[in-house]
């Protein structure tokens, strides 16, 4: 098994990336986030061997944010309770089967005499009473955890608009000064420790934003606006994915969440504000011309050029993003070229058509796009 089976892997391990990621490949401490319930001790105490496979860039068992931490606590409460109940039931079942079992043909029927079931009836009442008590406990715990998920909501420091499209994510950072608002695609950068409000909407079908390491999922529903409130605490790179079936390429609708220090975050934001750099080399210049004169500019925009289309991801800072095609491929020049050359083979049914850029033009185009840091 490849990947993040080992929880000590660097947090920037996903996606595989040739160069350093914006978030930096930090060796994050294993459980930086301690939820009030002391999840860390739970982890240590539970001898479940499978747990080693539980951390990772898209795992609810490896919380990196306050909310995911609380939910993690809830999980361990539920797990412990249910495991205990299950154990009791199974033991009793074993006993019942072993007690007077027979391997033979039936002989006669046990008569039910008056009063014979009285003892069982008593235990049934105990059983029901126990069930009620346990359930009341769980309901209370669930309600408490649910409340704790939003208790920081009035301390919002950052609002991010997330719009689900078939099959990518449009991310906007609105600002009171509209000229400082930025738009990107398939990546969310968050400052560590800051309370963030994600505003979720969709224009086409229902999607669901799920970043397990930070929070549970919330649907993006056409005609409605939902909110998800979270605090990311541990720096690192996480993965989120659409969790509501949304059509052909539901499987390839992922996004990268980079949690970084406030300084790094601000630097990233400043970089995003700049329009696309002018092409430096002749090849890049030609690539820009190819972009503007071909089908690319019908859907994609690059700020600073005349291409301002907006039905597909904005490419102004394409080369700074960790993935292309909504988490389908890690970003690098080779993948980019392969993607442009035949997007329908990599992600069949997605809305990027086979444009058929001739090979020399393709090289130039990729060179230009690769300059859009």
């Amino acid at each position: 098994m490849r990947g993040f089976g080992d929880s000590r892997r660097p947090q920037g391990a996903w996606p595989p990336h040739p160069g350093p990621l914006p978030g930096g490949e930090r060796e994050g401490p294993l459980t930086l986030t301690l939820s009030p319930g002391g999840r860390g001790t739970w982890v240590a105490a539970l001898p479940l061997p499978l747990l080693t496979a539980c951390s990772g860039p898209q795992s609810m068992l490896d919380p990196a944010g306050t909310q995911a931490g609380h939910i993690g606590t809830m999980w361990w409460i539920l797990f412990a309770t249910c495991a205990a109940v299950y154990g009791i039931v199974m033991l009793w079942l074993l006993w019942a089967l072993a007690r007077r079992h027979r391997w033979v043909e039936p002989r006669g029927v046990l008569p039910v005499e008056e009063g014979r079931d009285r003892g069982l009836t008593f235990w049934l009442s105990v059983w029901v009473g126990g069930t009620v008590v346990i359930l009341c406990g769980l309901v209370t715990a669930s309600y408490a955890v649910d409340k704790s998920l939003t208790h920081l909501a009035n301390r919002e420091e950052l609002a991010v608009e997330v719009e689900g499209m078939q099959w990518w994510w449009r991310i906007r950072y609105p600002d009171d000064d509209p000229s400082r608002s930025i738009a990107t695609a398939n990546e969310i950068h968050l400052p560590a420790g800051a309370p963030v409000r994600l505003k979720l909407k969709a224009q086409d079908v229902i999607h669901s934003l799920w970043i397990p390491n930070l929070h549970g999922k919330m649907d993006l529903i056409p005609g409605r606006e939902n909110e998800l409130f979270l605090v990311a605490e541990r720096e690192g790179t996480y993965r989120g994915q659409c969790a509501e079936f949304c059509g052909l390429q539901h499987a390839h609708m992922a996004l990268t969440v980079v949690v970084e220090s406030p300084e790094d975050f601000n630097a990233w934001k400043e970089a995003q504000l700049a329009p696309a750099p002018e092409p430096a080399s002749d090849e890049q210049k030609r690539g820009k011309a190819v972009f503007l004169s071909s089908a690319c500019s019908m859907c994609h925009g690059i700020r600073g050029t005349t291409a301002s289309a907006s039905v597909a991801p904005d490419l102004t800072h394409l080369a700074s993003r960790p993935t292309i095609a909504a988490g389908t491929l890690p970003y690098n020049r080779g993948n980019l070229a392969a993607w442009i050359a035949d997007p329908q083979r990599i992600k069949p049914g997605n809305h990027m058509p086979l444009v058929g850029v001739p090979p020399p033009d393709l090289q130039a185009l990729v060179a230009y796009l690769d300059s859009l840091k």
Partner: protein, 610 residues
């Protein structure tokens, strides 16, 4: 009252008038006039010509001729007609200069000179500018042209493919031609130029194509660009400099044309200038509006979107802005700010204010101090529900949260509509009554914002719109508004939206036309219908009045349905689609049954006494 008393009173009145003209101070100080008067410097006495579509720099569209009056107008009859040979929407005003009438047609923008001295007004010459045919694809609302302008022996016209052309008024020869915009970006030109101090002022159209709006001054003699002021972008492009002194704080700040937009959105942000310009020679300021921001979908352009949807006062020589007032910051409903600006001096709280009157798209009639840009009044002349009023302290319009457009959600019953309570079709102002005569719509709409995708040369709108009759069930109205009393004097309900201009005359008459082809004269005081005539096609043109070479008074108007309101007829649109013509088709789906295409000049006069 005896006859003698009458004569005495009349004499006194004449004397007072003479005194008032000779010594303005005398007239003002003791008792300000009870009604508004046109800005004196901008409205010279009528010479019987009609040399600019708005009649004068004050944009009064008032003729001092009174041969035709309320008493005899019922005898008015056709004097002659002229077929323009084009059957698109005729929004232009004919010009009459020294015995020649100049008529500019919609695309292909032919300019006809008619010799009024001869019976039947034969054609003197025709100028064909041959604009690019593909320009038809970037004309949002029919291939209209709003008229020529005359100055210094030249006729100036704009063409649909964004050229401005000067033609010798006598010979019909082209003097110069300047390309001002690129149709491949969606830029076109439809407005009537205004010539001020030897400069031809023009602006571009194409707010629905994501163009960047501007107003430009060309040297009337050579056609060279003297200055160009954009409606979006950094201050140096907008020509905002040290002279800029807006009244309200919200208009102050550096490079607001950049910072009130999302990054780079101002480059495709609209704010075109395709309507009317007025000029006050006394203050030496031109006044013009700026169009709607692009796209219509407001969610794609958070911020105030300066300098769209507002009014600029500029120095005509340098283009430097003096003041600006944003009527609709962050415009939500395509409330283009390009309507006419009537310059009047009017009594206000005991003093006389130099003001401009603007019946705005958003349903308010603004009275603004034209020296400073202070809003004196903004009163609804239409049952507005998209906004709840204008805060006169801050100048801020109060949007109604209930009617805020949302992506993917139809917001119902927004009044007024995208074409506004009143669109470009200009009002008239009569100094005799002190009343503004406003031909306008009575429509409401359903609106849904959708994602607009910018592709240069194609529309950039992002809204589905469906219009229908507003409160009362009628779709148009002709309103007489007293700007001093701040109330309606009277109103005529019209079944169809009104898309023609208005004309007021000293004969106490007001003329306007309807979409189904009626040309009407009503009494300026009461609104009583005195005369009407059915023309061959719907009227969306601007009526004028002139004194012919024979000394008689004539009324002229172009008939030819079209424009945004009449696109269903001019463009053969299909009424099954409620969103056709950006929703207007739904409001006038009965129009094809009530009128047909046409392109005809009608000139009326009283029967000759001979």
């Amino acid at each position: 009252m005896s006859k003698l008393q009458c004569c005495l009173l009349a004499l006194l009145a004449v004397a007072y008038n003479i005194l008032a003209c000779a010594f303005p101070a005398l007239a003002q100080d003791p008792a300000p006039p009870a009604k508004a008067i046109p800005a004196p410097a901008a409205s010279p006495p009528d010479d019987g010509n009609w040399s600019m579509p708005a009649k004068n720099y004050a944009s009064t569209r008032f003729s001092e001729l009174d041969e035709i009056n309320a008493g005899n107008v019922r005898d008015l009859q056709v004097s002659f007609t002229f077929s323009t040979g084009v059957v698109r929407g005729h929004e232009a005003a004919p010009l009459v200069v020294n015995g020649t009438m100049y008529v500019v047609t919609p695309y292909p923008n032919h300019l006809h000179a008619l010799d009024l001295t001869k019976p039947g007004a034969p054609t003197k010459w025709t100028f064909e500018p041959k604009p690019a045919a593909s320009a038809q694809g970037v004309a949002c609302c029919d291939y209209v042209n709003r008229g020529p302008a005359f100055a210094d022996g030249k006729i100036f016209i704009t063409t649909l493919d964004a050229h401005t052309i000067a033609i010798d008024a006598e010979t019909g020869q082209e003097v110069w031609r300047t390309k001002l915009g690129d149709i491949n970006k969606g830029e076109s030109m439809t407005m009537a130029p205004l010539v001020v101090k030897g400069k031809v002022l023009v602006g571009n159209s194409g707010g629905e194509f994501g163009v960047r709006g501007w107003v430009t001054a060309l040297d009337a003699a050579t056609g060279k660009i003297v200055w160009r002021a954009y409606s979006t972008g950094p201050d140096k492009d907008v020509l905002i400099g040290p002279d800029y002194q807006p009244f309200y704080d919200k208009e102050k700040g550096k490079d607001l044309g950049v910072s009130t937009w999302p990054p780079n959105a101002w480059e495709i942000g609209g704010g075109t200038m395709w309507g009317w310009i007025s000029y006050d020679p006394e203050l030496d300021l031109i006044y013009h509006g700026t169009g709607n921001p692009g796209p219509w979908n407001p969610e794609q352009r958070p911020g105030d979107n300066k300098w769209t949807g507002g009014i600029f006062a500029r120095n005509p020589d340098t283009g430097q802005a003096r003041w600006f007032y944003q009527v609709v910051p962050h415009d939500l409903y395509d409330y283009d700010g390009i309507n006419e600006l009537i310059l009047v001096d009017l009594p206000w709280n005991g003093e006389t204010r130099k003001a401009l009157i603007r019946p705005e798209r958003n349903g308010y009639l603004y009275v603004i101090d034209r020296r400073t840009g202070e809003v004196l009044a903004a009163d609804p002349y239409f049952p507005v529900n998209s906004t709840s009023g204008v805060d006169l302290k801050t100048g801020q319009i109060q949007y109604n949260e209930d009617k805020h457009p949302r992506m993917g959600k139809v917001v119902r019953d927004i009044c007024p509509t995208a074409p506004g309570a009143k669109d470009w079709n200009p009002s008239a102002f009569s100094p005799r009554t002190g009343i503004v005569y406003i031909p306008h719509n009575n429509l409401c709409m359903d609106w849904e914002s959708v994602e607009a995708n910018y592709i240069a040369g194609t529309p950039y709108v992002g809204a589905n719109v469906k219009m229908y009759a507003g409160p009362g069930g009628h779709r148009g109205a002709f309103t007489a508004w007293d700007p001093v009393q701040r109330k309606k004097a009277w109103e005529i309900k019209e079944d169809l939206p009104l898309w023609s201009g208005a004309l007021a005359t000293a004969g106490d008459l007001v003329f306007y036309g309807t979409l189904d082809g009626w040309f009407k004269a009503v009494h300026a005081q009461t609104g009583e219908l005195l005369w009407r005539f059915k023309t061959g096609s719907g009227i969306i043109g601007q009526p004028i009045s002139y004194r012919g070479p024979d000394g008689r008074q004539y009324i002229a108007v172009l008939s030819g349905v079209g424009g945004w309101a009449g696109a269903i007829v001019a463009g053969d649109l299909d009424p099954h689609d409620a969103s056709a013509a950006k929703g207007f088709v739904n409001a006038v789906s009965d129009l094809p049954r009530r009128t047909t295409k046409g392109g005809m000049l009608y000139v009326f006069a009283l029967p000759s006494r001979s």
